[in-house]
Symmetry: none
Subunit: 350 residues, 4 copies
């Protein structure tokens, strides 16, 4: 499949069992666009991505208190990109669209899904997004209410598809079942955290969802907040002071870090050092290995990357050239090195 | 959960088994807003309520012949409140929106539900309400027509949820069953009369609905037309002349009074006098005891209060501070004093 | 419709909105057959009933610890009655089939409905009953399980129809809704207590069920444990010692009595004395008035009567001759005398 | 609720959201009945259990290659127990009913579910079981085929309910959704491994299933193959030679052990030693503490225990007396000691 600017390097993949195609490398606005990155730099990053064949731009009502959506929408208008060439996604729930969590402005109630979608479209200055995600599960609202509300959003033409983010396997399974029972549209995609160091959910807990529910993945945090870029490889004993691993800066960082025990740092760094050596051997950067490795998982439709400089995007897209070099032997070597490959459930399967 | 003005005293509760949250104290426009209360006073009351953290404002097409909706909508615009912060409800049926009951301008036909909803939104100058209630059952219209019509209203985006008011348990059960059968949205809430002196329906007849149908309650008449404010406590032998209890002024008053026999007045006043003594002992007003007592029932999402002066609202919200003092022992004392606690049905249950 | 022995006096009515017809006077085995009445007398009573055109014989697993079913089945075989001429009903739940309530031998679980039906058929020595009733609601077992289990019983050919007994209106409404949703058979009949002194449930709470759910009634306790035979009319101040009204002999008596306050006895007896005078004026016995009055309610398919002597049955059947004399004027006179006619719900109806 | 022999000590609980009641202590035939335990001893154990009020007897087609079912059925006939007093369950899949796994004699295909159920009933010499479990998931057979096949078994009258064993949360959720979509009966119960040392699945992964799907639990391995009886407390450094922990005797043992790393043994034994001290303080055996602790989880309907001597059963039933002593404070002490309490998912919940 071609792209307006004829970039031949980009890969495009179907999102789960839907007809929608996204670039294997997506660009996300988490903590950067509208936040600590200057607007002009954001525009440059988005332009670079587009020029590299990226069609998938991901944001959320909560990113930078809504500013991420505003800046992303501005970029689309500024460059005069054709709407149909783009896949734009945003996310509801996990609040902060208004700077703080208020009574009904978060969660997955019908009220917030409708009001939140409209507010996001207003900020984006778009008529519709391609995918709207439930940014987190809401265990108070009945699943049926949530499934119906996302279908209302689709019926209104405000989104083409809906998905989930950081849901559990049984919740995705429940949502799909309710959609089927009611003759409604189920989620087509889940957006989980996934990287070389965090494999349990995507390869373990979710293992039965892909074929059973037709769910695809757009994954985030491929570099685990920079850890898999190798930039902490000198800090072999503890997280360097001032890094996101040493201080509790935000809820997001806490979550990414949540599975770690205190003494694990040095063990993790040893593994990252070995991965770096492997990347060197293959002639790529460690960050490129980290991205390409995610895409070797056929259930991953796109890896969502962040960027605060346009050059990073070029680098990220180059990682696709590493894909053919990640042979079964190399992947097995990585599994052995990491010792974190989830066991497939042993019950009767082919 | 926070509220724009940071009021810490208010409680917010889920409405039945839905994702919508309302303030435990709601403000209703029955007989006051647009009616005997001056518009400026209405505005002051609504502002006071909002400042106290009230997010739930309830009206009906029939209140003050539609004037209640008009005034309430005007207040929302005047104060520039954000729509998503508010939960606005109105009600259809029980007529009088146009000053008198005409052939098709009441009831729960598809025609009136659609036309009535649109007329209410026009008066409110809103795009949608959060909850639309069937103000009374309609025993002529087939339930399926009514359930389908409310779903049409929701599909159109004119309301997020629908509920019932003063329906019987078997009617609510029938509506839920039809919604389930047809894959439609059932009612999430019933609005019954409920107070210390009227417990049979909420605690008796409805006892099986809460878990079986996921129905929540927004209750009205917590003070029984002022009787539970103690203002009639000197009239120990008969209702004072000129009061709403001595004259049949309106259908509403007749209904609230309907369960009483002629000689009951003095017995009731004796109980109210005892309740007053209990409230004194707890250091609260009788009216505050009456409100807080309703909220000790976990099936009550909100108590809808009236107000003709802003100070009443402050008083009402203060009643939430009484909740922790209503211990099981105090509640048992009230039950003994009132002798009106409905028996739980004796059939096999845990 | 004719009856094998050409009795012309009996009336036959459809059971609710089904195709089944029962004699307006049914014969029940509660506390008599298999219990304090000698088997030979039971046989004589059943023969007398059959000869009078009674086709409807009602029993329950719990009557006389299962003996009622055994004796009733024996009578059917002894007289060689044709199975298709008879309508036989039994009931499950409310235990005591085995002399006491054990873990799973009561309630409305699938287990007990299946096992209980088979045990009843075994005792009756029948292949099937015409109607199987849920003798009481079971608020632990999900309604769906119960509806499915009764359908299983019908699918197996062990019963033609199912019904309820002493359920609330909302439970019957729920059962009908679930049956409709699942494409299953709903209950066709409810068996409530109903007599001149106990009208609230049948005429009030149930008022919407008859047309909405197609439910018919087979009523029990038409004489309120003898009170409406006039036999206590001399005891004007308190229940006579040794009567079922003075002593708590059994759960059944307690239930029939449950709505009474202590001082009510004399007021009730005064009403019964007036009813007796009315019956005299009409040239019938008070007990006949009590039966005929129940049958003036068009929702009543049959009144289930008890008998410990064959003559009582002749008397009971004679009460049908009183029906034409119960004119609207006489019924209004009875309503005025009793002061217990439930108000029809005032909401919009024709 | 009573039990034929009037045992007052036993507790009976509903199985999930069904109407079926089981004794809180169940007796299972895994590895014992029909296996290494002599038949006469099995009979004595079953008699002892029955005499203690146990009504729940659990077996499986695979236990002792089918011999467990044969011996259990023989015991029921030998003692002349009434079928309706008992709750008998068996399980399909995980093969070995015929001594080895053959092409179609395992799994959850329609073929094996039907053929396997009939073979089990033949071995048990029963007309039906109360619950039939899917002993393990089958990831080759489509879930719809499995759900339909278990419904066929129920429609045929071969079982009253069906359940799962060692399924994942998303599989149970999928099964429930398919049942709902197709108007069929879903599983009512899951049979997982659960004990003081293995809490992740029951308290973590399953946390949303109980209310959403109405699933109850009958748990196995409460003593973790004897480890929680304290019998290995002297082996502080490594599993004693010859124990089930040192040798891979069977698949079952491997599974129970599966979560352990090599060096964990001594840490585990230290915890067990502390638990023993706590049990001593409470005046009970450690094994009794282990059983009672499982039952403090309100989602557990029954703990399935094994026995090779009748005295063990008396001991196990005595553990119920410990329940009131397991106060919130004691449970918190246990949590602190074990450090294995799964975190509740942090997403929006009350």
């Amino acid at each position: 499949m071609a792209w307006p600017n004829k970039n031949k390097d980009m890969l495009y993949r179907r999102v789960g069992n839907s007809g929608l195609h996204v670039s294997a490398i997506g660009l996300g606005g988490w903590l950067t666009f509208g936040g600590h990155v200057d607007n002009e730099v954001t525009f440059a990053c988005m332009k670079q991505a587009y020029d590299c064949g990226v069609n998938f731009f991901d944001t959320a009502e909560s990113y930078a208190n809504g500013q991420s959506e505003i800046v992303m929408g501005e970029a689309i208008r500024r460059f005069g990109w054709k709407r149909s060439d783009l896949v734009i996604s945003t996310k509801l729930n996990w609040g902060m669209a208004n700077g703080e969590i208020l009574i009904n402005n978060h969660g997955l109630s019908r009220k917030h899904i409708v009001e939140g979608t409209r507010a996001s479209l207003e900020r984006l200055q778009l008529e519709y997004v391609d995918i709207i995600y439930a940014h987190r599960p809401d265990r108070l609202t009945p699943m049926e209410e949530t499934v119906r509300a996302f279908n209302h959003v689709i019926d209104k033409g405000w989104a083409f598809y809906w998905g989930t983010s950081e849901w559990s396997a049984d919740e995705i399974s429940e949502a799909c079942g309710i959609a089927k029972q009611l003759g409604l549209v189920g989620p087509i995609v889940e957006q989980p955290l996934y990287n070389l160091l965090d494999r349990r959910k995507v390869e373990g807990e979710f293992q039965r969802l892909y074929t059973r529910c037709g769910i695809g993945l757009t994954t985030f945090s491929p570099l685990k907040m920079g850890l898999l870029s190798g930039k902490y490889n000198d800090a072999t004993t503890e997280p360097p002071a001032g890094s996101r691993f040493s201080e509790s800066q935000d809820r997001f960082a806490n979550q990414v870090r949540r599975d770690w025990e205190k003494d694990e740092w040095s063990g993790v760094i040893q593994k990252v050092i070995k991965l770096k050596a492997l990347a060197d051997r293959l002639g790529f950067k460690l960050s490129q290995l980290a991205l390409a490795w995610c895409l070797k998982n056929e259930n991953v439709s796109a890896v969502i990357t962040g960027a605060s400089r346009p050059e990073q995007i070029v680098d990220n897209v180059q990682s696709l050239k590493l894909l053919p070099k990640l042979t079964p032997e190399i992947l097995a070597e990585i599994d052995e090195l990491l010792e974190n490959k989830p066991a497939l459930d042993p019950a009767r399967q082919d």
